[in-house]
């Protein structure tokens, strides 16, 4: 097992409230101590002078495309991209081929991760068989095999009765239910957010209401069943308001937002660049503002990337023919610093919480803190170094990022998983 002494950084651990210059000592893959002038007794040293040393960042929403779509991403390449983006743990959605709706697929993912991924990988299981929305998947066996939540991400369960049954079972199994909230009838055929921009561009609209009605339905079902419920990649001001209302009434609900939904709007689509095509679609200024206010107020619990790699040829088509989704692991910290920290919207402490205690709490992961005894996962990042994102240099197999060429201020410096350095800048 690996030992490492991380010296000279500003250590911030939201879980314990620690925020001071200090060293972090990891011994045998586990946090041993955080404090001044620690001694490593000959173990490797990582100099974190000028950087922030935080618990390992967790991305609770990625697509690794493995099994079945390995031309777009694998557990190995997605894992490497995560490490380079400052993440030590990722949770992968079940929309692979086959769908992760059985213990066998769950076990495959975990085994491949152990063999090839530099970061921790937790699978999320399907809610229904094949994510077809008709009959419940083998949720209990998947739980035993290692899933941390269930979701039919991308193909939401339209039948409220089946969703109710899934929530009841999830409650009994102590699993979180994650929903990609989209009423497929309202959004059918849609290309982008429905509004002035879609009307001008002649692209078919996806109304905010297609998200809002599903958030409303799910919150009601969560109240009915008592299940722990989480809204994936929420994007509208009304959804933020409804989750806030549900929380104020004491419901066991949470939500996440992606960096692109707080960084850019549907104005970007004027070039018909398919790298701006995703679900939920990029929305309006007022939605971006509401989402950022949700991050400030605490209504939003986590930042997740929805990293959705697609092979180049799939995105090199007419806008309306391209698949939805963009990559996100490489740019999440950079975008969060740009939009949330450098613009003075939230504290660095709060930002770290959104990447650590937030997702760890939602999924009940024993991670996201630097307390002694916790896994030795550490994310080192800085606030000021200028760098330019070159998507061609990404470890991901795919190149579908709209942020190619963007200049960032601050970003990941080193990624430590289980006491072992998995990635460093330069």
């Amino acid at each position: 097992m690996n030992s490492l002494l991380i010296t000279g950084g500003r250590v911030i651990d939201p879980a314990s409230g620690f925020d001071a210059p200090a060293d972090v000592l990891i011994r045998n893959g586990v946090i041993e101590a955080v404090g001044a002038n620690l001694r490593g007794d000959g173990c490797p040293v990582l100099n974190a002078q000028g950087s922030i040393v935080a618990p390992g960042f967790i991305d609770m929403h990625v697509h690794l495309r493995d099994p079945g779509l390995e031309h777009a991403e694998t557990i190995e390449t997605g894992g490497k991209s995560a490490a380079a983006g400052g993440f030590t743990t990722i949770c992968c959605m079940p929309n692979t081929i086959p769908v992760n709706d059985s213990a066998m697929v769950t076990s495959y993912i975990l085994q491949r991760a152990r063999e090839t991924s530099p970061v921790n990988v937790y699978p999320i299981g399907a809610i229904t068989k094949g994510s077809l929305g008709e009959e419940l998947a083998a949720i209990g066996s998947m739980k035993d095999a290692g899933i941390v939540a269930i979701s039919d991400d991308g193909r939401p369960v339209m039948n409220a009765r089946i969703m109710r049954r899934a929530m009841e079972l999830a409650k009994a199994l102590d699993l979180t239910v994650i929903d990609h909230c989209e009423d497929l009838n309202l959004s059918a055929g849609g290309d982008m957010h429905e509004g002035p921009q879609s009307v001008k561009l002649g692209l078919r609209g996806i109304p905010s209401a297609s998200e809002d009605v599903m958030v409303a339905r799910d919150l009601l079902l969560s109240e009915l069943t008592g299940a722990r419920y989480h809204v994936a990649h929420l994007s509208t001001k009304r959804s933020v308001a409804m989750v806030g209302f549900a929380k104020s009434r004491g419901l066991n609900v949470s939500c996440e937002v992606t960096p692109h939904h707080f960084a850019i709007t549907d104005e970007e689509l004027c070039t018909y660049d398919s790298n701006y095509r995703m679900k939920p679609p990029l929305r309006r200024d007022e939605d971006v503002e509401a989402v950022i206010e949700g991050l400030v107020s605490g209504v939003i619990d986590a930042i997740a990337t929805d990293h959705a790699p697609h092979a180049g040829s799939e995105k090199m088509q007419e806008f309306e023919r391209c698949p939805f989704g963009i990559t996100g692991l490489d740019t999440a910290i950079g975008l969060s610093l740009a939009e949330l920290i450098h613009k003075g919207r939230i504290s660095v402490n709060r930002m770290i919480a959104l990447f650590t205690t937030g997702p760890a709490g939602i999924l009940k992961l024993d991670r996201g803190t630097l307390r002694p005894g916790a896994p030795g996962d550490v994310t080192v990042f800085d606030l000021d170094t200028k760098w330019t994102y070159d998507v061609q240099q990404s470890f991901s197999k795919s190149r579908n990022s709209p942020f190619h060429g963007r200049v960032f201020r601050g970003g990941p410096v080193a990624t430590v998983v289980g006491g072992s350095i998995k990635w460093t800048r330069n």
Partner: protein, 307 residues
Amino acid sequence: MADLLKTRGLLDIESLDRGTIQELLDRAKFFQPGPGETYKRLESLKGKTTVNLFFEASTRTRVSFEIAERRLGGDSISIAAQGSSTSKGESLVDTLNTLAAMRPHAVVMRHAASGAPQFVSRHLKLPIVNAGDGTHEHPTQALLDARTILDHRPTLTGLRVAIIGDIAHSRVARSNIHLLSKFGADIVLCGPPSLLPQELAQMAPGVRLSWNMQDALAGADVIMMLRVQLERQYESPMLASEYFRFYGLRPEHVELASPHVIVMHPGPINRGRELSSEVADSQRSVILNQVENGVAVRMAVLERILG
């Protein structure tokens, strides 16, 4: 602007300025044939090859581009997508790259996907003339419509124009809204609610919406009827039999408009669906003038880009 037209071609009306549009319209007037004549024969496109690439069926637009290209002394080839390698699964960019390797000087393209010319233009160093993209724009149609109006009226400024029908799915409407608005026309858009998104009012200055035909037509100087684009609709916005009753143009409607009103339609017309035969064949109808101006306007555009 001149440079952009020469390098990128004509992708849309939205990004053109009023001066450029006026120049194109003035030049199109020069190309109009006199009574009993055909279009002028020039050599502006001598040695220039144009590929007309039609991924969507078209008769009048394709033929009018072909005639324009030939009257200007250029060489042209027309390709219907059904007969090309796209039906063998080749991607749009690959098709265009293949054509580009044969060194044409410009591509005229019609495509069912909104933004297809913008997409191609990013990956290809060749001027593209948009001959209609999905439900986005149809710039040469707006130019020929403006030319036709100006053949009957001294100016577009202050003109009351009613555009009636399936606005939501109409690239003709979008290009016309941009063009007419740049010249200060008053535009009323009229159609059933699901074909008339409220956001249209924000598209350009001078645009007003109405669900009521009588209201939209009151005092109109120009009536533009649109084809009901069944192929682009996911579900019927209203019963087909009711459409003509509420939004079909009949002689009694024309009475509500200005006494010198002209009636336009981009074609092909659906008699008895968007407008009655009496109106289509009446003195008020300038539908054939539009077709005639199609060639003149496309000559002006091609000459400006390639000449």
